[in-house]
Symmetry: C2
Subunit: 238 residues, 2 copies
């Protein structure tokens, strides 16, 4: 599959940016268009892409400024994928499947999935990076859609990869909610933290291209080892 021009251009520009210092200015949009033989529109699409991902900031009348926010970001507007994010930060992710079962629906799951599904597959996973446990995750996926999932694959492939390759379910969007909680005994043991310590609680709902909910996950992260960073751009006036 041939990538679009502006994506290719943004990749070339990332290489260039990696050789530059924070605070330096990129060539102007018109110059970049000339250098790479594309229209200014395409250059702008590539720069939009880089701005959202924390490689540059743009300043009206001045230019595109190199920044390094991308280095410390778990997430910008990209989809969350533990595996991908850890690799991007130069760490070696691993997943251990602690348990799996088929459960009946309950009030909470009904409110989330809204499709009358009666049974769900529950997956309990421990996520580690460079061998250190970071997150304890309980995931729920509808049985009718994913009953043929290969349990053995779950430790080796990402859940979203399995969804796409084996079930043709493409994740379009995820909603996440952040909160905090105290650990229980089981989670404390798995994460190797003291009982009654605080954990970062993340609730994630993922939605496919047809607007159906296909996954709900509750994660508990050790706050001393895993935190979540994001960047907001100011688009509105104050």
């Amino acid at each position: 599959m041939e990538q679009s021009l502006y994506i290719q251009l943004s990749e070339k520009l990332i290489e260039k940016i990696n050789e530059m210092e924070v605070g330096e200015l990129l060539p102007s949009e018109r110059k970049l268009a000339e250098i790479y033989g594309v229209s200014r529109t395409t250059v702008r699409l590539a720069l939009d892409h880089l701005e959202v991902r924390g490689y540059i900031l743009r300043q009206h009348g001045r230019g595109s400024i190199v920044v390094d926010y991308h280095k410390s970001l778990i997430n910008l507007s990209e989809m969350y994928s533990f595996t991908e994010q850890m690799k991007a930060l130069g760490q070696e992710p691993s997943t251990k499947l602690i348990g799996h079962s088929i459960i009946n629906t309950n009030e909470k799951l009904e409110k989330i999935f809204l499709n009358g599904e009666q049974k769900f597959i529950k997956l309990i996973r421990l996520r580690s990076s460079d061998g250190i446990p970071l997150m304890y995750e309980e995931s729920f996926i509808p049985f009718s859609k994913f009953q043929d999932i290969k349990i053995k694959d779950i430790e080796k492939r990402s859940l979203y990869g399995i969804f796409k390759e084996d079930f043709n379910e493409v994740v379009k969007l995820a909603q996440e909610e952040f909160s905090a909680d105290l650990v229980n005994e089981e989670v404390a043991r798995q994460l190797d933290v003291s009982p009654d310590s605080a954990v970062l609680q993340i609730y994630r709902t993922t939605i496919n291209i047809k607007n159906e909910t296909i996954e709900y996950t509750e994660s508990k992260a050790d706050p001393s080892k895993f935190s979540y960073r994001t960047v907001h751009h100011n688009h509105i006036e104050y």
Copy 2:
């Protein structure tokens, strides 16, 4: 100041979307261009704006689908402003200034501000919504830039409003980090939660248009009353 065409168009489209049902399709981009007498580029800019803010989803070959994610979101790519976000959710925000002092720099602040600033103004605020305390915030702003700040205004105006109107400092971008912690005695008392309960810990650094750090804030939120939601769109392949 005249707003750009695509912003005006996006506002008109929000009115239209508010009269539609979730799941309905907007007119096609070409039709919208014709209806509103603008180019398709302008329509696309307006739709980009709406997609990022959770009003629509776009599906290649199908159309722009009305969704209501904007209703449950504390944040999309908009800047974080407690006051604005609470109002958007239909709640009445209030701020109580618990304390303020001038402090000397320390190792942590030096690493964050990186400009050799020697003194900082420290503000301790309690943020409430409809009279219920949600967040305990400690903010640090450079003394040399903001020494003339009117302390009395802080309970009445938003900090970012004061920055802009009184100091001509426009916030360009904010970085936030989410973690979790146990409350201490003072915070437990202020938030009216039991000692040793967990709080959502938020660290925020805000940066102005010249790339200078102008504020650093540590917030502790009561997780039973305040959580943080966000949406990620899938731009990459899995």
